[in-house]
């Protein structure tokens, strides 16, 4: 049979964000695939260097539209570590609640996307309808549905009142009921099983080698929940299970995510009932440092890493964001190869990709068909030449 290469993206109904997968097909079978990133570089890291620590919160919140709280919390943990600020217990608790609400929102969203990718539109409609419950909770707590802007340096901006607490608990109970239905549906419905079992296989050792993280890694049996292994916020004090699965396929990833929802409900109940009294924020000076810090955070999609370097001014010298999708991309070509074309959207969606969070710059040479990597010196030279052509000489700087 003749081979055929078809593009999946950057504009494609299966993808919500721009990324390109080149699939080599033999009939319906995929025999080779490559990932091309870099359609959505926004220069966020560079922009962070020219803003103050406080302004950076609102910038980094926009790294991702779904795990916005994850990125700010991870960044602020670094900043507070450098500034040696002690965050009050109540602020930590509120951050934990918002983090778990965000995880519920993200996992329900993923469930809908998974349904959509397997042509099961009813699942999509149902889970997105139920997701409104958690979005309402977030709106109640923070006033916003997507970018919550709850965090500030040294704590949180808004408190949780007793009325809000009862309302969140009420909605969490509704969601728990619905999740039971999704667990039943995900593990019993024939077409869901047919489309997820033995699809996008990623054996444990391969997943280890490729550094897979988050629900994708946990579905391959890797214990990689940062909340459990390097507790931050209140997670050290809470009682919850780390969900892993050993089927190594999309079905496993579905099960891990749905069961994590149940754990998140448990966490929210515990924290809401614990909620200590006290202030919700402490004052932190505007100028921080010098010093540097790296922090890990379990975002809904996996481990999020932020690195902040401070130089004693009110602006960071360097902010580095490693979004979870970056780590999981590496495994996608392995999962796609030797699968069916029909499974490609499911396999890609199963890592819950977030292209825009991930994209950092990349240069692709179309003539040589190769990716070119620029070092710091190369980039500097490139920048100087770029401005020289426009009549500005920066070479003496």
């Amino acid at each position: 049979m003749t081979k055929m290469t078809i593009p999946l993206g950057p504009q494609h109904p299966a993808l919500k964000e721009p990324v390109n997968f080149s699939l080599v097909l033999e009939g319906e079978q995929i025999t080779g695939s490559t990932v091309n990133l870099g359609y959505n570089h926004r220069g966020i890291e560079k922009a962070a260097e020219s803003r103050t620590y406080l302004q950076d919160i609102y910038l980094l919140e926009r790294v991702c539209g779904i795990c916005s709280h994850s990125h700010t919390t991870c960044y602020l943990t670094c900043v507070e570590e450098i500034a040696k600020a002690e965050v009050p217990e109540r602020a930590k608790a509120i951050r934990t609640i918002v983090a778990e609400l965000e995880r519920i929102h993200s996992h329900l969203l993923w469930l809908g996307i998974a349904g959509y990718e397997m042509g099961f539109e009813t699942l999509f409609m149902y889970s997105w309808r139920d997701r409104e419950q958690v979005l309402d909770c977030l709106e109640l707590v923070s006033g916003n549905r997507v970018h919550y802007a709850m965090n500030t340096i040294g704590g949180v901006r808004r408190d949780i009142t007793p009325e809000q607490k009862t309302e969140i608990l009420r909605r969490v109970s509704i969601l728990e009921e619905r999740t039971k239905y999704y667990i039943k549906l995900g593990t019993e419905e024939a077409t869901v099983l047919a489309r997820t079992q033995n699809v996008g296989l990623l054996p444990h050792d391969v997943a280890m080698n490729l550094g897979t993280i988050g629900p994708t890694g946990r579905a391959s049996g890797i214990k990689c929940d940062v909340r459990k292994h390097e507790p931050y916020l209140l997670y050290g004090k809470l009682d919850f299970k780390e969900i892993t699965h050993d089927t190594n396929d999309v079905f496993g990833r579905l099960v891990v995510r749905v069961l994590e929802l149940v754990e998140s409900y448990k966490i929210i109940r515990q924290v809401l009932n614990y909620l200590p009294d006290g202030p919700i924020a402490v004052k932190v000076p505007a100028k921080i440092g010098p010093g540097e810090a790296t922090n890990r955070y379990e975002a809904p999609r996996g481990e999020d890493i932020h690195y902040v370097k401070a130089n004693g001014t009110d602006k960071p010298e360097r902010v580095k964001v490693r979004a979870p999708t970056m780590a999981n991309y590496v495994a996608v070509p392995y999962m796609l190869n030797s699968g069916y074309l029909a499974d490609a959207p499911m396999t890609i969606a199963a890592i819950d990709p977030c292209m825009s969070c991930t994209d950092r710059a990349m240069v692709y040479d179309t003539k040589k068909n190769k990716v070119r990597i620029y070092g710091w010196d190369d980039l500097r030279k490139l920048g100087i030449e770029h401005y020289k052509k426009r009549g500005v000489d920066f070479s003496k700087l």
Binding site: E117, G119, F120, M125, E189, R195, Y340, L341, A342
Partner: protein
């Protein structure tokens, strides 16, 4: 040909039960299906004129024909699909007996209903773009998968009634209503196969948008696409009417306006079942579909046929 025989024939072709009826009822069933699935999925759904509005909007759009494809074939295919579907409706009992009923019209209708599928294949193949080519291959693979169960399922009632005439089969079941119950497995299989013929979930594999964008219709636009969609809507009317006539006794011996009402009510009930299937499932993979159709549906059909032969033998 005199004016006396031309005028009724033209009326049959253009008004009832031909083009106008098929188009209007096709649009209605499309809306009915969309509205029902919307309600089942907790959505509002489109207003009643949505299908017609979509059609008119597509008519007004520019037609783009790819340079590399066979222009004549590319342009003719949608009308070909529509013509085949319109021809088959004359052999189906719509408000009373069929207009042109003869021995073997069941086979002719099955044959005529295969033509649109073949035009879908040719449409995708002549477009030559990767998505359309894969869609075209899937159309053909899918045809081989569902066609056998569909035919076998339709043969069961024909054997029991002892005729290849659709109207006579309908008449047989009208007179022996209890035998309809014995055909329920065959009916279920025929509905599933019809779902494959109409390329609806779980068998919307040829134009699975997450995988191959528009599938066989990727390169089609404007008027041509509008007529393809119209042909699919008409195919739904004809497919549902065929199942109604073969398995459920057609108009149940009624005629005129009452027959029409019975026809509409029963076809809408069948569409309701089809919508239920569409809403309750995800899309399967093409290899799973072929396996399912050949390993599960086809043997079940054979069992149904054997049962029908046995029943026929007992009837004498």
């Amino acid at each position: 040909m005199t004016i006396d025989s031309t005028l009724p024939a033209l009326t049959y072709i253009l008004v009832f039960p031909g083009f106008t009826f098929l188009a209007v009822y096709g649009f209605f069933l499309q809306w009915f299906d969309r509205k029902l699935s919307a309600v089942m999925q907790n959505r509002v759904g489109p207003p009643w004129y949505q299908a017609l509005a979509d059609f008119i909007k597509l008519l007004a759009k520019e037609v783009i024909v790819p340079e590399v494809c066979d222009t004549v074939m590319f342009k003719v295919l949608p009308y070909f699909a529509m013509a085949a579907v319109m021809t088959s409706v004359f052999m189906l009992p719509v408000w009373t007996d069929a207009l042109y009923a003869f021995q073997g019209d069941l086979i002719v209708v099955i044959y005529l209903l295969t033509i649109p599928t073949v035009t879908f294949f040719l449409a995708g193949w002549s477009s030559t773009s990767p998505y359309a080519t894969i869609g075209a291959m899937r159309v053909l693979t899918q045809l081989f998968a569902y066609e056998v169960p569909l035919m076998l399922a339709l043969i069961g009632p024909a054997i029991l009634a002892g005729t290849w005439n659709i109207s006579e089969i309908a008449g047989f079941f009208t007179n022996n209503k209890l035998y309809m119950l014995a055909q329920i497995p065959g009916l279920i299989i025929a509905l599933l196969a019809l779902q494959g013929k109409l390329e609806r979930v779980p068998f919307d594999i040829p134009h699975a948008k997450n995988e191959i964008v528009g599938g066989q219709f990727t390169e089609y636009s404007g008027r041509l696409l509008a007529f393809f969609y119209l042909a699919i809507d008409m195919e739904m009317v004809v497919g549902v009417a065929l199942v109604n006539a073969v398995f459920l006794g057609g108009t149940l011996g009624t005629a005129g306006l009452l027959g029409m009402a019975v026809f509409l009510a029963k076809t809408m009930a069948i569409v309701f079942l089809l919508t239920l299937v569409k809403v309750a499932m995800g899309r399967v993979r093409i290899d799973q579909m072929v396996r399912g159709c050949w390993q599960i549906l086809a043997p079940l059909c054979l069992a149904q046929i054997l049962f029908d032969i046995f029943l026929k033998f007992k009837l004498g």
